[in-house]
Structures are given as C-alpha cells and as structure tokens.
Symmetry: C2
C-alpha cells in the first residue's frame, strides 16, 4: 500500500510521515494531499486558543480524554514555535499528552512555526486534512500564542474555545479583546483561583456588546483542567455547538468559510513564492532589493512594477 | 502645505492622519508613502517583543525617556490587537505613555490588527517610514504578543529586544524559544522577582547553542522597568549594538534585510488582493470556493489552476 492508502486506513506512522513531507514543502506532499482531499470533510475541528499560561495544553489533554470516553477518535495538532537552537518543535506538549500515547484512537502532532507570513496557517490546514482523511472524528488545534497567525489558524475551526485565566494583567485583557470575536465557547480555566467570577463577568460584559453573525450565543465555562473539573460540561458545550451548526445550516456555511480561508492562505503562499521565484530567475530580485534599500525606489512602486511585469 | 510636506516638517497631526489613511488602505496613502520614501532611512528602529505580562510597555516608556535625556527624538508604535467590540485599538499603552504626551519629541501610535495573513506586518512597515520621514531619530516598535506576525514585524528592526520575566511556566519558555533567534539584546525584566538569575542563566544556555550570523554576541540585561532600574544600561546596550552594526557593515546588510522583508510583505499582500479581485470580477471565485467546500476540487489543484490562469 502506498502512503495515501495507508493514511486512509488510519495508519499513524504514514500520517506522521506525510506531515513531515508537508512541513518540508515537498511536491510528493502536495500530490498526496490532492489524493486525500476527497476523503476529508468528516472530522469536526475544534480550535483552542488563549494567552500563554492559561492551561490550554492541559485542557486539550482533558477534552481528548473526555471525547475518548464517548468513544470518539481524536487528532491533536499543537502549533508550536520553533527554536532555531533545538531545531525542532517544543516537546512539552507531547510529553504532557503522553498518557494517550498507547491509545491508537489518539494522534498527536506538534507543528513548528516554519516559514513566515501565513505559511503556518496553510500547513496547519494541510495537517487537519491528513487527520481528517485518516478518520479522526475530532481534531483539536491548540495554539501556543494568540497572535494574528494563531487567530487565522483557529478561524478555520468549527468550534473555537477561547481560554482565559483569572487575575492576569492589562495586557492579557488586551489580548483577550483581540480574540473575543472568534470565540464560540469561552473557558475560564484555573477557576479555583481568586477572581474567577470577575473574569466570567468581564467576558459576559464584552460579549454583550458583540453580535454573533450566525445566531449562536457564546457560552462561558469554568474549569480546573489539572483536576478535570468542568471539562465534561465544556465538552458537552462543544457538542451542543456542533448540534447547532449542523441543525441550523447543515454545516454548509462553516464549511464554505473554512474553504475560503484555506484557499486564500494557500493562494497567498504559492502566489508570492512563484512571483519571487520568477524574479530571482530573471536576475531582477536582488537589484530591486538593493534599489529599495538605497532609497532609489519605494517599495510600493517596486511592487506595482512587479505586478505590471507579471501582467496583473 | 500638503500632507507630505507637513510630515517632512515633523507635524504630528499630519503624520497621525496619514497613518489612519494607511490603516484604511487608501490610494492617497500609497501616493504619500511613495513621496516620503526618499526621505526615509535615517531613523534607527528598535523592536521590543516578548510574552504578555513581561512589561514591554513600561520598558518602552522608560527607554523612550532615556533616549529623550540623550536629546534624541522618538517614535513609538504599539502593535495592538483590535477588539471588534470596542472597534479600535486598546488604549492601555497610550494611557501608560501619557507622561510623554506634552513632549513634541515623542510621537506615539497604536496600530490595530486589521486584515490578516501578514497585513499588519506591511502596515507597520509603512508607519515606520512615516515616523522616519518626519525626522524621528529612534523608532520603537512594541508588539503585544509573540506570534509569527509579531516576529515578522520586529525582524525588520535594527535592534531587537526580547523581554522575559522570571518564574513563568513552560509555555513562556516555549514562546521564548521561538523568539530567541531574533534577539540582539535580551532583557530579564521584573528582575527583583525570585528566579531572575536562573532566567538569565537559562537564556545564556540557549544562546550558547546558537550562532550569530553577523558576529554579534547577544547581551543579557536585568531591569525593573517600573522603577527604571537597569534601563540606562540597557539603552547603552542598544547604542552599542547600533555602533556595531554601523562599524561592521555600515548598516548596509541590515538595511537590505529590512528592504527584503518590507518588499516581500507588500508583494504578498498586493499580489493576493489583485488575484482574488481578478477572480471575483470574472465571477470565478465563489464557484471555486463552493467546489472546494463540496470536495469536488482540492485546494492545491484549485490554486494551481488559478496560477495557470494568471499566467504564472
């Protein structure tokens, strides 16, 4: 059996191998992704985001266990920054998730922040498709930070959990504000800490001023993930949101929204790479960069010239 | 005088107006940026990044004061997430910086996270050029988070400060790893807290495994920004790195690197926008998204078809 067939049979090693090919940007990966695509669209994607230290990894771990209790298979994608000094993704999440390592119903993978300007968003989409094609019922995407790139990543999820913790400073509040719009469910984790109810109240107040464009009223949950408290209710909340999406719209709207993002991220990456390649091949790239650096031409005019030369 | 002339004379209101035009993506803004570009290239750009809660705003405030003591003018760009519920950038940083509000030598602006997939990186570059053209000697760019987008933003700085704090958890360590490569100077802020020396040691250990590609040996500083402790030494450290860049390479390498990033971010944004525009105009965009959502065509094949149709 080839790689694609093995993945369709749920082979974890084959999936891991293809993900590595995707990360390395090989032509073989693109071929395999094309073949797998018709087998995708069945998994339910859950995004988990929030500031560092809010306990997203532990929460992801607990939700995974909860979904396994319900006899559902789970894929976990932990989107990590890469350390140029270690040369790979941070192992912490993988270590934390080790309790699932002997469970064939769970597949866990850390994604490194390679490339730039949206590249991570695209490769995460590819990995979602791989886990989807291998038959995982649920796919959890956990982001490390809450930057724009991470927001773009969880935006493609069916249900997005925004995780907060009590008693963090102004900056956390500011961050929270930036991700309020993408939250379907809000989680106040470490809810045994002082100020949990105040944090719930703050989120409620922010939500009051917003409007959900699909009629869903975002829910707020309190959890203590390390002890598992509140995780069952939270998981039920996810399933309720899923019911809502399917009942209201048969999942079509969300699916189209996902496709739009996936398409745009991929188009952006390929288009830029192709244009830069073309310019480099014709020997025009370096002199242009030199001219911009030397203030002989401004970047806007330079880009317009390139668009013109490409006939766009 | 028109907007461009007023900015060249250092008019803060004119600069603020152009920044708003840039954020709104108007054609007028692009025209003005083209005219201003020959007047840029004199400012020294400092990036300040690190996890939320590390005290970047306070530190930026203190470095600003320090540079003012040295009689240098300063521009500050605080890159903020936008809340869709408040409709604007978070005011916290601006409030914190109010002590400089009557000082004409300081210009402060918060940038909102509008658009997506690299758009913020591009508009921040434009704002740097505006503050540069208005004659600011130093420009500080402070990011709220440490996502990939923020890394792309500070990557264009001459000197990048990576701010850490003692005693944060695993996730912070993971984040730190992702931004180690971009740090010219490292700051352990809140250094009066327990564990400061351990954090310094951890950074030293990580740095030992890395190699600087330009021969610069990254320095580590301890500060207590709220009290101003260590900020003078840190500012001197920035000036030393500046000396190093100019002496070693006459600033050319860094300037070319900056131009490459600025060009690529702008090319990516304009190229994608143009391609999507073209497709939408021909009525081909929505049917294609529908086909991807319906699993009739995979995103990779769809993008290849688009590239082919565009003659790329």
């Amino acid at each position: 059996m080839d790689l694609v067939e093995r993945i369709q049979c749920g082979d974890a090693r084959a999936a891991a191998r293809l993900i590595t090919l995707v990360e390395n940007g090989t032509a073989e990966a693109v071929d395999a992704l094309k073949q797998l695509y018709p087998r995708t669209g069945r998994a339910y994607v859950i995004g988990v985001t929030g500031p560092p230290g809010s306990g997203k990894s532990t929460l992801t771990d607990r939700i995974t266990a909860e979904l396994r209790h319900l006899d559902r298979t789970v894929g976990v994608i932990a989107v990590d920054p890469t350390s140029p000094f270690t040369g790979g993704a941070i192992l912490a999440d993988r270590i934390r998730m080790q309790r699932h390592s002997l469970d064939e119903g769970v597949f866990i993978r850390s994604m490194a922040t390679r490339g730039h300007l949206g590249g991570l968003s695209r490769s995460t989409n590819d990995v979602v498709d791989i886990l989807d094609a291998m038959g995982k019922d649920f796919i959890l995407i956990e982001t490390v930070g809450v930057g724009q790139d991470e927001i773009d990543i969880v935006r493609t999820a069916h249900t997005t959990l925004v995780v907060a913790v009590p008693g963090l400073g102004d900056e956390i509040q500011a961050l929270k504000a930036g991700i309020m719009e993408i939250g379907d469910l809000f989680v106040v984790n470490k809810a045994d800490r002082e100020g949990a109810d105040r944090t719930v109240l703050e989120i409620e107040m922010m939500l009051e001023h917003g409007e959900s464009d699909d009629g869903w009223r975002p829910q707020i949950f309190k959890t203590v993930a390390v002890r598992g408290d509140g995780v069952e209710a939270l998981t039920q909340g996810v399933l309720e949101h899923r019911e809502f999406l399917f009942e209201e719209q048969g999942d079509r709207r969300k699916s189209k929204e996902r496709s739009r993002w996936v398409f745009r991220a991929l188009l952006q990456e390929r288009l830029t790479a192709r244009a830069v390649e073309r310019m480099a091949a014709s020997g025009g790239l370096e002199p242009l960069i030199e001219r911009i650096a030397g203030r002989e031409v401004d970047p806007h005019t330079a880009v317009e010239e390139v668009l013109f030369r490409l006939g766009l």
